[in-house]
Symmetry: D2
């Protein structure tokens, strides 16, 4: 995993500064931070970011987290034959993001994933204002049969150091 | 309102067949049906419609409903100075939509809107299979001050025939 | 082809009124018309449809044309193992589309496709105002090897009645 | 301008490494480089980035360039009342981008903008492979009247150091 990360480092120099940041805290959960800038085409007639784009931002944050864990989503699909479809999304919108904003998405996985991954996220702007909070649940399916499965071994290994044994 | 609708009818002939269909039922709620075809760019690496696009489809259905009520969203913003930001979204995904699918979105508003509109929707494919169910809540704000307000008079009038007096 | 179209008709009743319209004219070319309504999320901070969305609208028009020819794009990929990547796009923007607009895309293929399909399109709003004109070129590749190929037999057959023998 | 840039620097630390890079070269033109990672939802049924997204990537690169010049697009619109609509787009696609790819967009403006800005770009993947080349032309309009205008003074000043006097 580290080799992969190091290789990634060659052409993703900004990861170290704004990429997902993984660490164990007292509560033994997985926490990550992801930053991104609002893009012009993501705004709408109201002059703010369209609500559907937050759902996409959350995905960017999750994928960056997987990259940091050494398991980029495209590799999980290609190398392990596992897809991770979203099974539910909940998002509460508190304050709009605007063009020029730089968003910070703080995500946490509080329970070691088994049949599903539950990701809780807060989205802030550059002033630290909470724009939205969200819960996204993902499942696992075999990419050939599209049948549900439990968490694949590769992900179990990558995740387990961040949680207490259960 | 009817004149506007009739004018709209001239260049939107397909509304009559697949547009939102409004009627009072025993339960006195507002129900609408909206059909749309999956677009190629809405699919993703998994070969299915990306989950964020369902959030967009739901918006298309809401907007068509407003058109049928004689109050297209752009007119509400331009003529009445009211915007309707989404305040929360919940969506449960049951089965994926694919390229070539024609989706049917059945939506209902069960309570006469006051400070918010709560829209419940089910999304089906052409085989009648339930792909997703969702709840979207919208608020009302003044477009100049961006301050929250109660349902504007124009919408109150348009909605009230579909609900029992309260 | 007609059977396919008839089958499609069952669940796409609006095709007959606003779907692509295919006919031979004096010039022996393939012409189609496609209508679509602007969606809210397609607008941007300027209050008009973002320029990238016209590129997507053009694709919707092409796909509807293939449906009318009895060869929906997903079937071409799945049943014939052929993908049709876009190899170039040119689009000139004359006047902006706004929320509430209903667009009419008139497309024509002037030359029988061999190694490529060249599609010329004009996009109008409901007032007949020209919003944009475009040229999109597509190639053919085998979906397994991703190697270029000439027009597949299935498409050659579908297209040839619309052109003079060459 | 510099103060703004410095302030921006505080919360955009990654700009220095992957942001637009401005310099005069022998030819006296404006050149910039912008990097971005492919997002999952930008891929399509073919498993590659949808062609319309390159048009969006080009916009991200242009906007970053304006940020580096001290004139973010939202400020140009808000503070100077000038909008910069795209008047034409040409893009040639050579090789597909895939999930996991990190793209490098090299753009150049070869002529000092007067009534229009002409931006030429090449898009590469992390292996240095040319994926696409493009030309995008933008005009200037007053945001209130939507009438065309020549390059506004603020932009003229920001651009002129990068070009020979003409």
């Amino acid at each position: 995993m580290y080799a992969g990360y190091a290789a990634g480092f060659l052409y993703r120099p900004w990861n170290s500064s704004f990429g997902a940041d993984l660490f164990k805290n007292d509560k033994k959960m997985l926490k990550t931070t992801y930053n991104l800038e609002v893009r012009y085409y993501e705004t709408d007639l109201m002059g703010v970011v369209h609500h559907s784009n937050y759902i996409r931002y959350l995905e960017c944050a999750r994928h960056q987290c997987l990259v940091e864990l050494g398991l980029p989503i495209d590799s999980i699909e290609r190398d392990y034959g596992i897809m991770m479809p979203v099974t539910s999304v909940e998002c509460n919108y508190h304050f709009p993001a605007k063009m020029g904003d730089v968003l910070r998405i703080e995500s946490r996985i509080e329970k070691m994933p088994k049949a599903r991954i539950e990701v809780l996220s807060d989205i802030f702007n550059q002033d630290g204002k909470l724009l939205a909070d969200a819960k996204v649940v993902l499942g696992f399916i075999h990419s050939d049969t599209r049948k549900p499965t439990r968490i694949p071994e590769c992900l179990h290994k990558a995740f387990s150091p961040y949680f207490d044994n259960e």
